[in-house]
Symmetry: C2
Subunit: 105 residues, 2 copies
DNA sequence: TATATGCGCAACTTTTGGGTTGCGCAAATT
DNA sequence: AATTTGCGCAACCCAAAAGTTGCGCATATA
């Protein structure tokens, strides 16, 4: 089943995993230690993150180190782009308001 | 129940609502027409979006126009900031790789 | 070779969440 | 005043998802 990144980052545990992996690659067992959770539960989160390509595995022996995939995270950034116009507009309006107030002084 | 913005945008319908409202304020009935959905279903989505302050109501008579709150949307941008470092690093590494390849020519 | 360890997968339970219908209330219309 | 319209809230149904336990398999270690 193909996952989508919006649903992937909706879960707080998965966001925490991403934050950890952004610093360094970790194995499922280590992640499970960090959160108070069974390895299998973490494994499910990993599956979601992997299927939408937010992380990628690197097998070394019987251990699997999962790496953060920054490139994929940019998709989220792209989605946000459609709203940047809006908040910049709001700021411009605020600037205008401040200018008006200043002019009145 | 206080909602969180990550869960709010996890739903595709809510993302579509936000995209619409970013262009212009709309009433629940109008939104329900846009999607093939009852007004009550839309109303539930509105509740989620309202509770995490991604939209704000403007009552005029018996109609309620919901506005997009760009300011709140910036919280995503702030969250993303922790990963920007990562993808810039990846780009730098790509640059280095390209430089190495170029040098070999 | 026997045993430990690290992992993913499957089955199951419980919680969450998106959809519906059916209200009641307030504002507009007649 | 009676009716229509726009809305939110509550109860309910069903699907999805997050957690658990219990496997089986592959890789280390004794």
């Amino acid at each position: 089943m193909k996952q989508d990144i919006f649903q992937a980052i909706a879960d707080p545990t998965r966001r925490a995993i991403l934050t950890l992996l952004a610093i360094q690659a970790l194995t499922p067992n280590v992640m499970a230690e960090k959160f108070d959770m069974t390895r299998q539960a973490v494994s499910k989160h990993i599956k979601v993150l992997y299927e939408c390509e937010l992380i990628k595995p690197e097998q070394t022996g019987r251990e699997i180190y999962y790496h953060f995939n920054a490139k994929k995270m940019q998709e989220f950034d792209n989605w946000l782009a459609q709203f940047r116009q809006n908040w910049e507009t709001q700021f411009n309006q605020l600037d205008q308001l401040l200018t008006i107030i200043k002019t009145k002084e």
